[in-house]
Symmetry: C2
Subunit: 563 residues, 2 copies
């Protein structure tokens, strides 16, 4: 699969290629790479290295990331991180040992990356280079320059990648926020200048490609939050993403305007606030109080800023909703504001949290009720503006599902972009020389962090666990003499089969034992000396009997001890 199609180009000609390994076809797992050089001797840089998270469909798997196997054996000379969201940096601690390249990012991102490297025991191994905003640096044949964009986290960077064969604008995640509150506005001058100098290809965010208009400004959210909090009495909790420092700062402003002290609840909220303060981007001088102190203040004097807007079971807000938070107790007359959106897949847990709050008499206000959230990704008008600025010859939509990528490509086409390519993960796209085309399909896939092990997404362990989750698991054990006599057992271990009540339970076990007994007895003498044949017979008999009892066919394992 790897390598170069024979006979099409000589191996010695330099090429400029793009390779998405995560980022195309799905949200939340960005790992893109750019290669330069002849096909058999390319030099690579990696752009972002993110994770996505497991759900009920992947029990036991908390973190999922792109499989970097292809790049592992290639010459990777740098890992560039556009911004600090988990879907762009989350895999650094898990995958760096396989890639072992220097890392480049801006100060706020670096603060959070250091946390991850410390956790992974890599802090002394990684060459972490802090690049200033708008900074430029060289990596082998690549000249890189950061362009300040706006997004829902501090320090979002687009990256201009210059090579002898042309320039790529890699947007990372962005929107156009005329008043982002934290950091500078979108650097329109830089983008215009890049466009003037000529851009070969733009690799661009597609998250909101199905949405007309613009994403809206953090400044408008701030105004509405100040208004809303001012209207409320009782305790107020605002839930938002900790990493949206502009939003956090708006909530602090809203609290200050309403004469409330701010109390941070939740570990990641405290961590991000520390990061933002350390790099000087959170300057608000509101009165911060600890959870204990807040509990002693009158209800109208405190505003809790909490994590858990996605209904995460272990986050502060879910605990508050279930009345299980040690410090924050809400009841009738109190309000929880969700200054956030529903990330697809989280609908049910979010609704659960909201319903639990409502059952306690708490008022729940979401972005459906008031204009208290804006997206961090470009809607169609913003995409149009970006294409007008950058005017690439080739549009490569990434960061979205198939529907978003296709719609983005259609939009680019409508804007007279010469060529659009909707890649799949693993598609190697030659950007130059010649017309862009997919020249190879590299190995690609997902890795699951299962316990402490990084395994392929199709690992049999997860399949087995999912199967047992549906049908249950029975183990049947016998001890057999060398001559094939049943010495002890059959003994049964039944897990995950429906409760039958005490009386029937005993009967069921007996019936299973009997089935196993009968199956053993029915074996020919020679078969009784073959553990494999005994196992097979016992498994079949027990499975059949279990189906009679429970109406489902469990996974059955027989174990034969020879004594």
């Amino acid at each position: 699969m790897q390598g170069h199609k024979p006979g099409m180009k000589k191996n010695t000609e330099d090429e400029f290629v793009f390779l998405p390994l995560g980022g195309s076809g799905e949200i939340g797992m960005n790992l893109n790479a750019y290669g330069y050089g002849p096909a058999d001797d390319r030099t690579w840089i990696i752009m972002d290295i993110g994770v996505t998270f497991g759900d009920a469909a992947t029990p036991g798997i908390d973190v999922i990331m792109p499989d970097p196997t292809y790049l592992e054996s290639e010459n990777v000379i740098g890992i560039v991180l556009t911004h600090a969201h988990e879907d762009h940096i989350g895999a650094i601690g898990h995958l760096w040992r396989r890639l072992k390249a220097p890392v480049y990012c801006t100060p706020f991102t670096a603060y959070l990356v250091k946390d991850k490297l410390r956790e992974a025991g890599l802090i002394d191994d990684v060459d972490l280079n802090i690049v200033p905003m708008k900074g430029a640096f060289d990596l082998g044949p690549f000249h890189l320059r950061l362009v300040t964009l706006t997004h829902s986290i501090p320090e979002p960077n687009g990256v201009v990648i210059e090579t002898p064969l042309g320039v790529v604008m890699h947007t990372g995640d962005w929107k156009i926020d005329p008043d982002p509150l934290v950091g500078e506005a979108t650097d329109a001058a830089a983008l215009t200048e890049i466009g003037h100098r000529g851009v070969l290809a733009m690799v661009c965010d597609s998250t909101n490609a199905l949405v007309e208009g613009t994403a809206g400004s953090e400044a408008d959210v701030r105004k509405e939050l100040i208004k809303l909090v001012g209207e409320l009495s009782g305790k107020v909790v605002v839930a938002c993403f900790a990493s949206n420092v502009a939003r956090v700062s708006s909530v602090i402003e809203a609290a200050r305007a309403a004469g409330r002290h701010v109390c941070f609840v939740g570990r990641s909220m405290k961590r991000i606030v520390a990061a933002a303060q350390s790099v000087g981007i959170l300057k608000e001088d509101a009165i911060f109080v600890g959870e204990e102190e807040a509990a002693h203040l009158p209800d109208d004097y405190v505003l809790y800023l909490a994590t858990g807007s996605q209904g995460e079971a272990r986050a502060a807000l879910a605990k508050i909703a279930h009345g299980a938070h040690p410090a924050v107790k809400l009841s009738s007359g109190d309000t929880v504001i969700f200054s956030s959106r529903v990330i697809p897949g989280n609908e049910i847990p979010i609704k659960d949290v909201q319903n639990h709050l409502v059952e306690r008499g708490v008022k729940v206000i979401t972005d459906r009720d008031r204009d208290i959230h804006v997206s961090g990704h470009p809607c169609k008008d913003e995409l149009r503006q970006m294409y007008q600025w950058v005017r690439p010859k080739i549009a490569i939509p990434v960061h979205g599902e198939a529907r978003h990528l296709k719609e983005h490509a259609a939009l680019a086409k409508s804007l007279q972009v010469e060529q659009t390519i909707v890649p799949r993960n693993g598609d190697m796209i030659r950007l130059a020389p010649g017309a862009a085309e997919i020249i190879d399909e590299t190995p690609n896939g997902r890795l699951h962090l299962d316990g402490s092990r990084l395994v392929q997404a199709d690992d049999s362990a997860l399949r087995e666990r999912r199967k047992i989750a549906v049908v249950g698991h029975i183990t049947v054990t016998v001890a057999v003499s060398g001559k094939g006599a049943l010495v002890s057992g059959p003994a049964l271990c039944v897990r995950g089969l429906p409760d039958l009540g005490d009386a029937d339970e005993g009967e069921a076990i007996e019936a299973l034992e009997e089935a196993a007994d009968d199956a053993f007895s029915a074996l020919k003498p020679v078969q009784k000396q073959d553990p494999n044949q005994i196992e097979e017979a016992l498994e079949r008999a027990v499975r059949r009997q279990a189906e009679r009892i429970w109406g489902k066919r469990p996974l059955v394992d027989a174990m034969v001890l020879t004594v």
Copy 2:
């Protein structure tokens, strides 16, 4: 918990009570009951007996229903079904044996109920009474009268329940559709007359209580579908709920207008069409073709009407999206129309199906793109109209989550309804005599159909399966002599632990065996003769070793055979 609070009322006084066992606090599991008589001798009727469906959080559980234990020992004299949606009739085959009361419903509902009774082997046991639309009948102290409403299924009925202590309007599921296409419009005259005669309480649908305005009409959907299908070339698939016969009929109309033959795809689509035709409510004379014939027609001559709009893995549409449907193959230039909404919880599977379609080049059109779906439940303006018609003294919101019920209650209050009660499942509400109040909390909960067994939702089997789904399962077996000598083993069965690669796998098993061996050796002679102590020691040692290897603590079962 059961029974009457002592000292508050004499047991001999007649009371009229309402008891939701499913229907309050959650969508999709309707089982409501009305009781009449003195507290220790009530006569009950049940209103609907529905199911909801399991998801990834309840592996192995397909169907979930209310626990009817409380009513089982009460005098239930009838089960009335308002309409044929699964969340109103789906439990009849599972729970009837526990309740053994005659069943009452209209013809279309009866057709589908009979299917269920046949499947459950109950068709000869159940006294199924077919009541005409607008029919009336007596059940003990209750006089019941059906009121024709509109909803997303044929024959939706409200039920007027008259007793000597007052009248209840039980709405079932409804909306106000001025042109429902199938069946009559909302019977405003009857509702007005009911209001004039005086209504004690209304038990009413809350599904859309958070939504302003009105749900919209099936007639408008028909117009848009005709327009949309007329614009399309290539193959067209329309996905909708089979039970929405008006929608099915509109799709047939749209096909006819575009000169396309209709091909039904999916078992439930065919079943409902048969039901609708049998009771004469689907009269369309379009040309129906089978799947094989359709495959031989030119693309522009066929319209497939399919199930699976919720992304159900086993439904026709998912198979089509994955290219796995034997008869229907789609590609570039073809279109799939989702004439449906996203039911909360189904977001991810629906998106998956849509993305797979888009990846095949298929155009996907949803209710976000065109006005091709309306809800079957009342929005705020419709609720206001219903309260103006019926003018109940008491409003009891049901059929919704906590947020919907609270909002519905607030709306009723704003309309001068004297009293609103938001019940939880199991709350017994005395409607009369005196002010309405919750007088008891009866046993309540959910039952899971697990294989062929109906078990409590908190059954340990599901907990065990969920645990194994996360951590895996190891069984360790030894054969021990009566004197405490290790005769055979330890042998290990490892399920659901991450793959380590062939070499490491063997090492891991060895390490686990060694840990078990060491744990056995470390036991005192007397402990070696006690299987319980051996089990405990082996389980602890293997769990600890597994954690070292895999970074997770599996469920470990030790089995000791005495030989």
